[in-house]
Symmetry: C2
Subunit: 146 residues, 2 copies
């Protein structure tokens, strides 16, 4: 019959808590731009990174903003089709694709960024004094491999 299963509280289990919190926050943010601008989380990351990095390859994108290369590639394709970024062949190394914001993309970001900054400010306000500690903890979690 029922054996000696140890006690276990899922709601206190850190991987679970992190996943739920991240999903919760991400949904709140996505609500700001998904319906109004029709871009996904991956596309958002690509746009933000292009904003202050000039020309970037798909591979760099992947490692800089934590996107699978196929995900980064598809996000870039969609953004290019939407006219928000431009894909050009890198002349020095023709394996590489140079991605850069178009004027239209820049205009979109000019609308989008204030919303994101405001969202971050609301989060900080909600966190009150816990913001620094949260960031320190997240840094710790990212430090090592597993």
């Amino acid at each position: 019959m029922s054996g000696k299963l140890p006690d276990f509280d899922l709601s206190g289990f850190l991987p679970y808590r992190l996943a739920v919190a991240a999903q919760h926050v991400s949904a709140g943010l996505a609500g700001l731009y998904r319906n109004r601008f029709g871009i996904s989380v991956a596309e958002w990351r690509v746009l933000v990174h292009l904003m202050d990095s000039g020309e970037v390859s798909v591979r760099e994108l992947g490692q800089m903003v934590s996107l699978e290369k196929s995900k980064a590639s598809r996000a870039a394709t969609r953004l290019a089709e939407a006219g928000l970024i431009e894909k050009t062949e890198n002349e020095a190394d023709r394996r590489l694709v140079s991605l850069s914001l178009t004027d239209q993309g820049r205009a979109l970001m000019a609308e989008l960024l204030p919303l994101a900054i405001e969202f971050q400010n609301q989060l900080e306000a909600r966190l009150a004094g816990h913001m620094a500690a949260l960031n320190a903890a997240l840094d710790r979690l990212m430090e090592e491999k597993p």
Copy 2:
């Protein structure tokens, strides 16, 4: 003509940081059981919740462990096919399905739980003194709607 785009640092943007950290930790945990036991994150959550909740409906499952009802339903179906849980019709309300662990499921959890507990302990060790602060911050994030 680069316009007046505000400065924005994605790597300091909380929704992004949370998503990356959650993904990182979750991948570490999943490595413990995905290959060795062949269960997914959703299935893991279902098993854990059934462990100390006895008989549960799919709907309760969904709200208790943050799973879409279709996701919960499919996870339950897979677990039942694998013989780890049992699905019975609730007699009082025949719309409901009662889920419960089988002996085989209980045996699996007896193997799995120590690994999860050990994983949590490693996380706590890595976080050193930051654990309490992290939990407090996560609570804050979950408090309100967005």
